[in-house]
């Protein structure tokens, strides 16, 4: 699957299927700090991602106070 990461924007390719929480763990990204969006729609932690999916992992932490 194609995975789009942000800050800075970049793309990586992951082989095979994954559940959302497993993909985040593999990339060492905290669930509380990210949303996972599949083909434009939010998906929860147990959603299974297929090899043909386009996944955006969007960070949610902003630096302002």
């Amino acid at each position: 699957m194609k995975v789009i990461l942000r800050n800075p924007r970049r793309e990586i390719v992951i082989d095979g299927r994954r559940r959302v929480h497993a993909l985040l763990a593999e990339l060492e990204l905290a669930r509380e700090g990210h949303l996972v969006i599949r083909n434009g729609t939010l998906v929860p932690g147990d959603a299974e991602l297929d090899r043909d999916d386009v996944i955006e992992i969007r960070p949610v932490i902003s630096g302002g106070a």
């Binding site: 800050n7 949303l35 939010l42 969007r58 960070p59 932490i61 902003s62 302002g64």
Partner: protein, 335 residues
């Protein structure tokens, strides 16, 4: 995963509620949390004129959207901070959001109206960029609210923001800041009322609100904020949250319930100690005032004086690389 309310497929899991929600019931949850914050803290009423501090980021656009959705009258104010392409892009998001919904967005440009920008101010004053930025925004939002006859200024500070500030203040035991870290700052002597309706919602929930509602916002992190201490506090709290969901809410909302009342007397101290700035006439707190040639001059006017006299400075001269950028660079170098 099924929605807790309707058992339809969920789009988001919220461990702190031990629940999952479909889009419709997630939005309902967010509306209820904002309505509760407004009601519990008596932030404003339906008849108040509201000015929303808009940055083009998820929180300010989400809070504006939520207030309009709940039936409040709210205009926006965007301050063009001059942080290179980041400011140009964020302004575009704010303007498109307002135009698509027929909302009023006022714009103030630091460079055009005051002769400086945030990178230049940071260099000219030796302050960290976030300090120069925050001071400029506070002054200009106060001024716009008072000049425009607004009853209240709304900011998009969310639960994560407030928990991180609380964490920093508690690490330093800065009791004066702790006493004033409230979701409502009442109007007083030249300062408008300021409120934070998102204190019951996390950063992740606000980003999800924007995705579900189809709100485009600037996702990139402000290049000036990269690596700041506030982000480190957020990451530390998120690490605790993952191990023990609900930690951020119990920490900050518990502070409001049980600790803030004990500090109420301290919060009131100094509330009347303001004088007008000799240059701009704005109310100036004792901590901010400074005598220049025997006159009381506010911190903002002193910032403008030093920054406008300095040659413009580019963003790259004052920015730090974020941890994610350093990691991305390492990824590229490792290939």
């Amino acid at each position: 995963m099924k929605c807790r309310t309707c058992r339809e497929p969920a789009i988001i899991d919220l461990p702190r509620h031990n629940a999952n929600f479909c889009a419709e019931h997630f939005l309902q949850l967010c509306r209820r949390q904002v309505a509760k914050a407004i009601h519990d803290h008596e932030m404003f009423t339906a008849s108040d004129r509201i000015l929303v501090a808009v940055s083009g980021g998820k929180d300010s656009l989400a809070v504006w959207d939520l207030l309009v959705d709940l039936g409040y009258r709210a205009d926006g104010l965007y301050i063009a901070l001059g942080i290179g392409e980041y400011s140009d892009e964020s302004r575009g998001y704010a303007e498109r959001f307002a135009a698509e919904r027929g909302l009023v967005l006022n714009v103030v440009s630091l460079r055009e109206e005051y002769g400086y920008d945030v990178p230049t101010a940071a260099k000219a004053t030796g302050r960290v960029p976030c300090s120069a930025c925050g001071m400029s925004k506070r002054h200009l939002f106060d001024k716009a609210a008072l000049d425009g006859g607004y009853d209240v200024v709304v900011t998009g500070h969310n639960l994560d923001d407030e928990a991180a500030v609380l964490f920093g203040n508690a690490l330093r035991w800065d009791v004066e800041y702790l006493a004033r870290q409230l979701p409502v700052l009442p109007a007083r002597h030249g300062f408008p009322r300021k409120v934070k309706p998102l204190i019951r919602l996390t950063e992740r929930e606000m980003a999800a609100w924007c995705v579900v509602r189809g709100i485009d916002y600037i996702i990139e992190e402000c290049p000036m904020a990269a690596g700041n201490r506030h982000l480190g506090y957020k990451e530390a709290l998120n690490s605790l949250e993952e191990k023990s969901p609900g930690t951020k809410a119990s920490y900050y909302l518990g502070f409001l319930d049980r600790m803030a009342p004990l500090l109420a007397d301290l919060a009131a101290t100094g509330a009347d100690s303001v004088r007008p700035c000799a240059r701009c006439g704005a109310a100036t707190g004792v901590a901010d005032e400074h005598a220049v040639d025997g006159e009381i001059v506010c911190a903002f006017c002193r910032l403008v004086e030093r920054s406008a006299a300095h040659a413009p400075v580019s963003v790259d001269l004052v920015r730090k690389k974020s941890r994610a950028e350093r990691r991305a660079t390492m990824e590229v170098e490792a290939r």
